[in-house]
Symmetry: C2
Subunit: 486 residues, 2 copies
């Protein structure tokens, strides 16, 4: 495969510091003024359940406070709607068909990135950063996604639970935060992911006995806000209430983490990202590339605190996250400085309001969730129009086990003509080869324009542009791919 990142060059952000440390002697990282980096990745958290994004029921005061101190992105997109692949994209700045993480990592699914990928922790470690992770990992191989420390490793007995206890995660991170030298902390909760499916109202990890040092915030089904893509039925409301409770637990962890950063005097000089791997774990969002599956929360608190409370309408992609973080860290990776929409590229210029060429397009690439859930899709998402290519459209869509066995789906999934949000239930299970939506006039993607004669030219242009992206990124699913088989 083609490798974009070949070698690593470290550039210091402030030349003055470098000179102060002595000519030809690289400054120690802590002397360079380089910011710390905290990337918080929530699990299946949609924009639908965050106060800062307009939900007035769910309580997320810490995340909202972070948004007040930073920039809230309204048009931030993952490139895939499945946990492992999205995390691999976040940590490599590359699409799944390019980094090899085509589907889930665990048990029989067994996908892993290519051995020669350069990951964010390794790039930062090579530049002198201390690196650590805590909570959900879900990527492979370890040699690629290598962190200096796993702060949850000593908690083997409760490892499965640790990601459900973000406050505890924050406390376990404190020693690492407080030590000397710039650091990168990858803080990944299991909340608000669904618990193991059992056909009843899912608890989203909630427990009757709660979690250590964590306030239990509960919600009434009648109070929740049912987003447009979901049907307003009791099962959905009951599950949304549980989901909100799990979200509030994430928020408590964020609160504790921020408190530790502030106590250590490091909050100001830390770049903090809050985001989710993919959309909420309800049919119609997670594992789909409809807007609820890929349009996600992204809050960026800048080092130095610039642009506090701003919102940003520009489109950014999860493939941009690694280049952006590296840009703030002063790390240059050959090939990472791009202004092509087909690749990941730093949006530091956007945040700092210096030079930035706005993205005109977001590309997405989903192939598998579970190994037997083969449903390759490729997406070109422009400002107004969005094209989804369902490559295996003759196949029925297989649902993820947690969605298929959700109380939500069990309540409605056997009624093909019922409305599921603004769609018929059946439309989630069988899809046409092309879906073209006008997001301006149809934000909920209910009217497929792919067969509209008036859209023919646009459709063909977007198809050609999408195929160009596939070819530029060496996609084995490109119609032009001349692969190797033996």
């Amino acid at each position: 495969m083609q490798r974009k990142f070949v070698s690593l060059i470290v550039g210091l952000v402030t030349c003055i510091c470098s000179v102060a440390a002595g000519a030809n002697v690289p400054a120690k990282p802590e002397a360079s003024g380089r910011p710390n980096v905290v990337v918080i990745v929530a699990d299946d958290h949609g924009t639908d359940a965050i106060g800062a994004y307009g939900n007035r029921i769910v309580r997320t005061p810490a995340i909202d406070a972070l948004a007040r101190d930073g920039v809230r992105f309204d048009r931030a997109f993952s490139t895939v709607s499945s946990c492992s692949p999205s995390r691999a994209t976040i940590l490599t700045g590359r699409q799944t068909h390019t980094n090899g993480m085509y589907g889930l990592q665990q048990v029989v699914h067994h996908f892993q990135s290519f051995d020669d990928e350069l990951s964010l922790p390794v790039a930062l470690e090579n530049a002198g950063y201390r690196t650590a992770r805590i909570g959900k990992y879900h990527v492979a191989p370890d040699s690629v996604f290598r962190f200096g420390k796993n702060l949850g490793a000593g908690k083997k007995a409760q490892r499965g639970e640790l990601g459900r206890s973000p406050v505890e995660m924050a406390d376990l991170s404190n020693g690492f935060i407080s030590a000397d030298g710039p650091f990168f902390l990858y803080f990944a909760t299991m909340d608000p992911h669904r618990s193991a499916p059992h056909g009843k109202v899912n608890r989203f990890g909630n427990r009757d006995d709660g979690f250590a040092d964590t306030p239990t915030v509960t919600y009434r089904p009648e109070d929740v806000v049912v987003p447009a893509f979901l049907p307003d039925i009791p099962a959905v409301r009951a599950e949304l209430a549980q989901y909100y409770q799990s979200v509030s637990r994430v928020d408590a962890g964020v609160a504790r983490l921020i408190a530790h950063l502030k106590a250590a005097g490091k909050y100001d000089n830390t770049l903090i990202l809050y985001l989710s791997d993919n959309g909420v774990a309800f049919p119609g969002a997670k594992t789909t590339l409809y807007e609820p599956g890929m349009r996600l929360p992204l809050i960026v608190k800048l080092p130095g605190g610039g642009r506090a409370g701003d919102t940003e309408k520009a489109m950014v992609s999860w493939v941009d996250l690694m280049p952006t973080v590296l840009d703030y860290a002063g790390v240059r990776v050959p090939g990472s400085v791009s202004d092509k929409d087909t690749e990941g590229r730093s949006f530091r210029g956007l945040l700092d309001m210096t030079a930035y060429k706005p993205r005109q397009a977001i590309y997405a690439s989903q192939t598998f969730h579970e190994i037997q859930m083969y449903y390759p899709m490729r997406v070109l998402h422009e400002q107004r129009y969005k094209l989804i290519w369902n490559i295996a459209s003759p196949l029925p869509v297989r649902q993820a086990v947690d969605l298929k066995n959700s109380a939500t789906w069990l309540a409605i999934g056997d009624k093909p003509n019922a409305r599921y949000g603004e769609r018929p239930v059946a439309s989630l299970l069988k899809r046409p080869e092309y879906e073209l939506y006008d997001l301006q006039n149809d934000p909920n993607e209910t009217r497929n324009l792919a067969k509209d004669p008036a859209m023919r030219k646009r459709l063909e242009e977007m198809k050609a542009k999408l195929v160009k992206f596939l070819d530029e990124t060496g996609d084995p699913w490109s119609p032009n791919w001349m692969g190797r088989g033996e």
Copy 2:
């Protein structure tokens, strides 16, 4: 995943030797009389092109001689028709959906077996055998498929070519063969695989300047024997002639290898297997589970030379190879002694004509060839009837790049109504969900009985039996699979 082999117990074949070596002191391997093992795996070699299997044109004197010294199986079956997965099955005794090698290993395809698989070389090494491989590898990870030596490793510059030069491979193996102690040599040629595709008559690795110390045996297109599954057209004859030439190069390597074994005085006490990973690399064979894809050459030369020249009609499977070899080596792995048709099991009893419960069924499992060639199939192959379940039957069948770009396919592939052997061309590209064949009356699998009312009961019984196999082996593609996704 479920792990069949948990730990390893070594039992010596001859108690007398063990006692002679001293009570409670394990005999040194060489003192135990345990046989050496040579497994020769040719690449895409069908039964169609071997003298011992009835072809009177192709010259394979060494393979034929091996058959005269051993047992030729007429009903030996791979469980998958793709290189990496089949090699992983040969070397683990487990189906691809069980060992995790769902498709090709190389480049973007990137499939690998689960980390906790026990492989044949590791099991034999643990039992005191010296182990080495030479030639084509094509499996991963190395930690699972670990051999003591790679005898071709020093030949990096010509590594890609080494598998095309079986005589050289044999010479490079000689030092290993001649050393003390029982050994396992895994000898895997690249011949008679197709060369890189280019749309012209493929050379199957043949070169104008030949190969070191190797006679070049050429064939005339008008002389070759066109098997029933192929159309008798000039492109096919031209490619078969090249294929035969490549086969004769394999034979030259076998001749040299046998000569070294004899010169070292080790031929007699060596268990030698000659087999292929899958059927010949023509559309209709390789990557299909029709008979030309999975019914393959297997010649077994026993240590001690028993049953010289016999033929065997009993059905055996590639999942049986590892248990059989371990049985001869005196190595017992818990769980490997089975008489269930769903699992791999030793057929030593068959070869030695002692206790053996004949297989009533062969099961096969193919899921991918290249990563974008998703076409999962599961097969129940009984004595007379064969059921193929094409799980993704709504999809068109994607052809492997070497087959799609073969002169054979380019000559006929765009003529959907043309006959390809006894089938229409189109039937290779789009298949029904179920195919049921009566191999007794229809050995070329041209009449699908799945919709024949008279066969309804048999079809349902075979479907139920196949699903039982999937469930027993934890197949993610089973309709009953309740997997894990996050």
